[in-house]
């Protein structure tokens, strides 16, 4: 098996996987029932410990059987996934079809550590549309090492909204590779609340003119959680916009990481790249590491990144309190407002409600 990357690799300098490499993960145990499935009227894929459960899932017209593919890349996580992948969704939406929403649920539970490596494939034909609502939950010690290969053809739009609420003893590494064609869009939002250690890594290639990548994330972490959101956006065609807003709220001894690289090829004139990463440290032991990166080979571009790390603004807290709002509420209001910019593009009501509920339960635990 391919070795896990170490911190010696520049791409992994802030995220140490030794917690994973030092754990013996067995095969996933059988799991029959899934607690609290969302009550939403959409077709659904329900994976229990990494295996599709036909009874809990519903039919989706554009689903194809799982088909393992040979891994072309050299990334360690993708190679490990390819070597171990046993199941995953395989969606193909034909040209011009609006396939609506689909739920992708992963639930995990087991008495001893186990690992699963879902390999998902999502292909949208020209002008097609799809919204994937993904919810990852579980309990116990496990490692989900998921991979998505996404292809969005000309004029198509894929919305991908993820709620990562894994067990706080679990590990979640999710790698997403998206190819976005002319006038197509990939709109992504991940809300990271769970897992002891997690990383969402997105590579988005903008290969046709005016292709759009919108990669947003919010992570709220406490205890000794480690959350990493890493993106690489490659502008390979002219006139493409890319947008990223990443917000981290860190309590306890949590550590947040954001690495965001924007690459602009020589051909990609009129690129418009925007990236903002902000972190709130709520406790003295929290840590945030940010590495925004621009690599630009075209001259007629507009690229910017910004990063801030700090505590809540006490001036704002006082203003709210002077209007009668109790301190804890004042802080919650300000933290929610801090997250707003990242959540903004989630205009899909059902998805937004899921995120709001998840945030509510997070406040409850703090």
């Amino acid at each position: 098996m391919t070795a896990l990357p170490t911190r010696k690799l520049e791409a992994w300098r802030f995220t140490d996987l030794r917690q994973i490499s030092s754990t013996e993960f067995g095969a996933p145990p059988a799991m029959a029932a899934a607690p609290d499935l969302p009550d939403l009227p959409f077709p659904r894929f329900v994976f229990l410990n990494g295996t599709l459960n036909a009874a809990l899932s519903t039919a989706f017209a554009y689903a194809k059987p799982f088909a393992p593919v040979r891994e072309q890349g050299a990334q360690p996580m993708a190679l490990i996934n390819a070597a171990n992948a046993k199941d995953g969704i395989n969606i193909e939406v034909p040209d011009g079809v609006d396939a609506g929403e689909v739920l992708l649920i992963s639930q995990a539970s087991g008495a001893t550590p186990f690992a699963f490596h879902p390999r998902h494939r999502v292909t949208l034909g020209q002008g097609a549309k799809l919204t994937i609502i993904e919810i990852d939950k579980g309990e116990g010690v496990y490692w989900q090492n998921a991979l998505f290969d996404i292809d969005v053809a000309q004029g198509a739009t894929l919305q991908h909204f993820r709620l990562q609420q894994e067990s706080v003893e679990a590990f979640n590494i999710t790698s997403i590779r998206a190819r976005i064609a002319q006038a197509a869009a990939y709109e992504h939002f991940t809300l990271t609340l769970g897992a002891k250690l997690s990383r969402t890594e997105i590579e988005a290639d903008l290969v046709g003119e005016t292709a759009l990548a919108h990669l947003n994330a919010a992570q709220l972490l406490g205890g000794a959680q480690h959350g990493d959101f890493t993106t690489i956006i490659r502008h390979k065609a002219p006139n493409c916009p890319s947008r990223q807003t990443v917000k981290s709220v860190l309590a306890g001894k949590a550590r947040g990481v954001f690495q965001g690289k924007i690459e602009v090829d020589q051909i990609a004139q009129k690129t418009d790249g925007y990236q903002m990463s902000q972190a709130l440290l709520l406790s003295p032991d929290a840590e945030m590491d940010i590495k925004p990166e621009l690599q630009i080979f075209a001259d007629d571009v507009k690229c910017s990144h910004g990063a801030t790390i700090g505590a809540l603004d006490e001036e704002q807290v006082f203003y709210l309190r002077s209007r009668g709002i109790p301190e804890a509420d004042a802080r919650q209001i300000l933290i929610r407002a801090f997250l707003e910019e990242a959540l903004e593009p989630v205009t899909h009501d059902a998805s937004k409600a899921i995120f709001e509920d998840a945030l509510e339960s997070w406040w409850g635990k703090q």
Binding site: M288, P292, I296, D299, G306
Partner: protein, 481 residues
């Protein structure tokens, strides 16, 4: 862009490096290559004490075990360290006064615009000139001595003030800090030494000019500046080299130490030979510069204008240890032709209420690559620390690259870190506006670039600022886009 623009680019493609002449004087060189014997020869030549030879040999041992760093965005053919000369100096014995300096050398410095005697007096700048490996003249020593300031070649400081050199040498940049610092520690031949005693404000700007003249020579100067409690000094450094087809290596180390309430301002205008239009020749500039703010409320400010060198690898940094200490980094880096610059800073916040400011302006033209690489690190003890970083890149032409690689690591909740970066091209409407008011395209670019760099240039001492502005214009000749 317009066809006139293209024509302008063609016209100016072969830009002139006006400092590219060589000086014909008799040189003393050691055999080429690096070995413990060469290290011993350098040390013996300088009449160094045993501890310093030991230190050099240890650095050499460390260097042997190290590998050239590869993380920077630079590409070059392997450097043949055994084909370099590690010591070259004018053959005549070191001068005791200006009258004894080889007139040919003085003429060289005059051509470079560095006034060693009368003009120095008028400008009120004390100058230490380093020619290849040795320091040839230090002006204004008497005036400085009266104030208690020591400003002399470091080789002389080793003899005259061994206790100070021994105490501080390698205390900020240890001998084995990195590949190039280790190399420097083993073979450094000269450089400047500055000591500002307690409470003294250095009565004048101190200045060093470095020049590489000899062929196949590496220049490894070492600068050490110490400002005791309440002392302050402004130090300027300028660099040039002749045009040569082969690449020349420059691996300097600069160490600054600021005690309580001390202030050190270190300004550099780096104009080493960048190589020709095809990327042949030019200086490889691998420099380690680091300042330690050891005292409370101490301040170290780096300002650099980097227009020369084929390769620039340089990260002037501040270790902010003293409570309330301040670090600043103001940088303009211009690359044109086939130049490669990978430069930036590190701000390490250790003490409480430390603050740092980073303003970096990168301008890429021609077929060059210009990278800002920086690190802001807030350690758990640095409560109330502040950092503000702004790095802007400007691209001129579509054959060049501009890259920004900041690392921001914060482990203290009460610290506040802000980082902004933008990349853009010179706006067509700005260019048009200037030209419609009668400016040539070249002048318009110069004007806009100078405006882009204003926040940095204003940090330079006056006499340097003018020179730097001219340099910017010269460096960008033939790059209009």
């Amino acid at each position: 862009m317009s066809s006139t623009t293209d024509a302008v680019i063609q016209d100016l493609a072969a830009q002139k490096y006006k400092y590219g002449f060589t000086t014909e004087i008799e040189m003393e060189e050691f055999p080429k290559g690096l070995s413990p014997d060469i290290v011993r020869m350098i040390s013996a030549k300088k009449g160094e004490p045993a501890w310093l030879l030991e230190w050099r040999l240890k650095a050499y041992e460390a260097w042997l075990k190290m590998e050239e760093p590869t993380w920077a965005r630079i590409h070059h053919a392997p450097i043949a360290y055994q084909d370099l000369y590690y010591y070259a100096a004018p053959a005549k014995a070191a001068p005791k006064s200006l009258d004894e300096v080889d007139p040919e050398l003085l003429r060289t410095y005059e051509k470079l615009g560095i006034p060693l005697n009368e003009r120095a007096a008028l400008a009120g700048v004390a100058v230490d000139a380093v020619f290849d490996s040795v320091s040839v003249a230090t002006t204004f020593r008497d005036t400085l001595a009266k104030a208690g300031v020591i400003f002399c070649p470091i080789s002389e400081a080793v003899r005259e003030h061994p206790e100070l050199v021994r105490k501080y040498l390698g205390s900020v940049v240890p001998a084995g800090d990195n590949y190039f610092a280790a190399l420097n520690s083993a073979v450094f031949s000269d450089g400047s030494f500055v000591f500002i005693p307690k409470g003294v404000k250095c009565p004048m700007e101190l200045s060093t000019y470095f020049r590489i003249n000899a062929r196949n020579t590496g220049q490894f100067e070492r600068t050490l500046i110490i400002a005791e409690d309440g002392a302050s000094v402004s130090y300027l450094e300028g660099c040039t080299a002749p045009m040569r087809d082969e690449n020349q290596l420059h691996a300097a180390v600069v160490e600054l130490v600021a005690m309580d309430d001390a202030k050190i301002k270190y300004s550099t205008v780096q104009n080493w030979y960048p190589g020709d239009a095809d990327g042949k020749g030019g200086i490889y500039n691998f420099v380690t510069k680091r300042g330690a703010c050891r005292g409370r409320n101490s301040k170290i400010s780096w300002t650099q204008v980097e227009t020369g060198s084929a390769i620039t690898w340089k990260y002037p940094s501040c270790i902010l240890q003293g409570e309330g200490s301040v670090g600043e980094f103001y940088s303009v880096a211009v690359t044109n032709g086939h130049q490669q610059a990978d430069t930036g800073t590190k701000m390490i916040h250790i003490g409480k209420n430390t603050s740092s400011t980073i303003i970096s302006k990168g301008i890429s033209a021609g077929k060059s690559n210009n990278t800002y690489r920086g690190q802001v690190k807030i350690l758990p003890g640095a409560s109330g620390a502040r950092n503000f970083t702004q790095c802007d890149s400007l691209l001129i032409g579509d054959q060049c690259g501009a890259h920004t690689v900041p690392y921001i690591e914060n482990r203290n909740a009460s610290a506040k870190v802000e980082h902004e970066a933008t990349t853009s091209k010179i706006a067509e409407d700005q260019l048009f506006y200037c030209r419609s008011r009668g400016l040539s395209e070249e002048d318009a670019v110069g004007l806009i670039v100078n405006g882009f760099c204003k926040d940095v240039l204003k940090e330079l001492p006056m006499e340097f600022a003018v020179e730097a502005q001219k340099l910017l214009a010269v460096s960008l000749e033939g790059s209009v886009g």
